[in-house]
Each structure stands twice: as structure tokens, then as C-alpha cells.
């Protein structure tokens, strides 16, 4: 219990000061709490902003990657278009090459036929063998099924059949120069039908007339009346073979006939002197 004049009791100023200090302390604590709250708020905001920043950065990176990807796709598309163009060009070139190859093959085949025909005709020195070769050319190379080889008998102006295949009876007899065959011979003109070929012979209307000519003189003719069933038209090679026969067949035939007439004796060297004028 405090007594009046007790020296241990605090002076009134001190009480007031203590109160003020306590009040100030309490206000400081409150302020500190407010600061703390503010600090936490700001910290959360910083975190949120950092998260947003990170998200935006990620977004940017994604957009950049997408842009790069799109550019790459565009480049690949361009490459694809270029490759397609090159493929089309290569295919076109291949097509042209194939066509050219086919053409060369056909030309080779045609030349081989012509060479073999000519070679075989001129190798023979017996008329019968020449005729056999002519028949082989017509049957095996051209595909003729019915045909006649005529030689011209000039004094009687008739065409005399000397070989034939698939031709019978009256159609194997001699024919006049004013017949279909004779007319083409007189004109020295190769006749080849433009109609579809037939395996059924029509002896009044030959499919082909090949005039046989020696030094511009008509000496005979070949008439084809029918071809093999599978043959629908004459090829370029066939036409070339007909042209070859025009001069090569009579030349080979006459050479062989003259050689036989000379009793297969070779001419002496005198026959060949002074040839290099």
C-alpha cells in the first residue's frame, strides 16, 4: 500500500511518459504489422508479376518456335514443289527417251531386215536360190500368204509367173500388160493398198504390186494377194522391203541367170581392166 510521501511511487510525469512510451510502442507495433501486411501484399504481387512475366516469356518463346516451325514448313513446301517440278520434268524426259528408244529399236529392226534381205539376195548365184530368197522375204519378213512373181516376156508383152504361193488354177496363168499388175509395171510404180489387209486372196485386186526394174527397164513384177491373218497393215519396214525388191530382186536374178548361162565360169581378168577411169 502506497503512502502519501512514499518515495518509491513513480512521479506522475514518469507515469505519463511511460504511458506515452507504451502508446508509442503500441503504435509502432501496429505500424510494423501494417508494414508486414503491406510487405506480404507486395511480395505476393511481385510473385504474381514474376509468374506473369514467366508466362509471357514462355508465350513469346512458343510464338517464336511456332514462327520458326512455320518458316520451316514453308521451306519444305517450297522444296516439295521444286521436287515435284523436277519429277515431272524427269518423267517427261524419260517419256521422250522411251519414245526415242522405241524409234531407234524400230529403225534398227528395219535396217536389219533390209540388210539381211539384200545380203541374202545377192549371195545367191543360182536363179532357183534367188527365187527361194525372194519367197522367204515375202513370206517370212513381210508376212505375205498368197503372191506371184512374174517376169516380163517382152516379145509377147505378157507377164509369166515364175514362182508363187497360195495361188491356184487360172490365177497362175500368164497375164497381159494391160492387167492391174501390168499397168503398175508399165508405170514403174509401187502400189500398196490403203485398205485393211486380208488373208482371203482377191486375185483381181492385189494388195501390193512391186514392179521389178533393171536399169530403168521393167522386167517383171511381184503381186501380193493376201497376207497372214494377224497382219492388219503394212509397216514402214514392209514398204522399204518392197522398194528394195524393185531393183535388187531383178538384179540378183539376172546375175544368177547370166552366171548359169556362162556355165558358172568366172570372167577373166580382162573383164575388169581399165575400170578405174
Amino acid at each position: 500500500m502506497a503512502h502519501k510521501g512514499d518515495e518509491s511511487a513513480p512521479p506522475p510525469d514518469l507515469k505519463r511518459q511511460t504511458r506515452e512510451v507504451l502508446q508509442n510502442f503500441s503504435a509502432g507495433g501496429k505500424l510494423s504489422e501494417e508494414f508486414l501486411t503491406e510487405y506480404r501484399l507486395l511480395r505476393d504481387q511481385v510473385r504474381a508479376l514474376e509468374a506473369e512475366n514467366q508466362r509471357l516469356r514462355n508465350q513469346l518463346e512458343t510464338d517464336d518456335a511456332l514462327a520458326r516451325l512455320l518458316a520451316k514448313v514453308e521451306r519444305l513446301e517450297e522444296e516439295r514443289r521444286e521436287l515435284l517440278t523436277r519429277t515431272a520434268q524427269a518423267e517427261e524426259a524419260q517419256g521422250q527417251f522411251d519414245a526415242r528408244f522405241q524409234e531407234v529399236e524400230e529403225q534398227f529392226s528395219s535396217l536389219a531386215n533390209l540388210f539381211v534381205a539384200s545380203n541374202q539376195l545377192h549371195q545367191q548365184m543360182v536363179p532357183r536360190s534367188v527365187i527361194r530368197r525372194i519367197k522367204e522375204i515375202l513370206a517370212q519378213l513381210v508376212g505375205a500368204q498368197a503372191y506371184t512373181v512374174y517376169l516380163l516376156d517382152a516379145p509377147s508383152e505378157t507377164l509369166v509367173p515364175i514362182a508363187s504361193e497360195g495361188v491356184v488354177g487360172e490365177f497362175l496363168e500368164s497375164t497381159e500388160l494391160d492387167s492391174v499388175v501390168g499397168r503398175y509395171l508399165k508405170k514403174v510404180e509401187l502400189y500398196v493398198t490403203e485398205n485393211h489387209l486380208s488373208s482371203e486372196p482377191n486375185f483381181d485386186s492385189p494388195l501390193v504390186v512391186v514392179p521389178l526394174v533393171l536399169e530403168s527397164r521393167p522386167v517383171g513384177a511381184i503381186a501380193i494377194f493376201a497376207t497372214l491373218e494377224q497382219k492388219s497393215e503394212f509397216s514402214r519396214t514392209d514398204i522399204e522391203l518392197f522398194k528394195l525388191l524393185i531393183e535388187h530382186a531383178p538384179s540378183a536374178l539376172m546375175t544368177a541367170a547370166l552366171f548359169e548361162q556362162a556355165q558358172r565360169k568366172l570372167p577373166g581378168i580382162d573383164s575388169f581392166r581399165d575400170l578405174s577411169i
Binding site: S109, A112, V116, N119, Q120, L141, G143, L228
Partner: protein, 125 residues
């Protein structure tokens, strides 16, 4: 690179020459010629061939007899045989195929067809 051998049996010198010309286009193919079936058999007895091309209509021994003889010989049982025939001779063609021929070519012969058949049977690219 392996070399192939081919026997051409054909009595017509013209057809033979034409076949030889066509077959010259097949790389590494050595061609031997025979005049008829008997000559063909003689050449087959002397050496082995990778393929045989034979005409049907030939004197002395025709192509059908040749096919039969070749197939009955164990040495040539598996040798591919191509017969050469005319379009009309369908019976001969059937008979030859029954006897063991592998393929046929019809006259007038076309070089590209001959080459294609030979390459196919010899499995050449």
C-alpha cells in the same frame, strides 16, 4: 559379268541371220547357229546352252522332235526353249508347249519381241 549361250536352230539362212542380228542386242549372249534339228542335237551334245530358239518346220528333224529329244535328255531338261512358228500353226504351237517348250515367237519376227522373250527367260535386266 556372266555370259550366256544361245542355240538358234533354223533352216532358213535369212531367218537365222535375222535372229542372230536381233540377239546381238542382248549383252553377253553368245549365239551358235544350227541348220536343222539334227545339227541342233549335235551341238547340244557337244556343249551346254542357256537357251534354245528353234523353228518348227525344218527338214530332216523338225522343231517338235527336237523339243521332245531335248526334254528327254537330263542334261537339258531345264534349258528354256523358244519355238518360232507362223501364226496359223496353232496346233504345232500347242504341241510344242505340251512337249516342254517355254515360249513361242510368231513370224514375221520382231526383233524387240525376240529380245524381250530371251531376256525374260534368262532373267536378264
Amino acid at each position: 559379268m556372266s555370259e550366256y549361250s544361245c542355240l538358234v536352230v533354223e533352216d532358213s539362212p535369212m531367218m537365222r541371220q535375222l535372229l542372230v542380228f536381233a540377239l546381238a542386242r542382248v549383252k553377253n549372249l553368245r549365239v551358235t547357229e544350227a541348220d536343222d534339228g539334227v545339227d541342233g542335237l549335235r551341238k547340244l551334245a557337244a556343249s551346254k546352252y542357256d537357251i534354245i530358239l528353234t523353228d518348227i518346220n525344218m527338214p530332216i528333224m523338225d522343231g517338235l522332235k527336237l523339243v521332245k529329244r531335248v526334254r528327254s535328255d537330263p542334261a537339258h531338261q531345264d534349258t528354256p526353249i523358244v519355238i518360232i512358228t507362223t501364226e496359223g500353226a496353232s496346233e504345232d504351237r500347242q504341241r510344242a508347249l505340251q512337249l516342254g517348250a517355254n515360249a513361242y515367237i510368231t513370224k514375221p519376227i520382231q526383233a524387240p519381241q525376240v529380245i524381250a522373250i530371251v531376256k525374260d527367260l534368262l532373267k536378264i535386266q
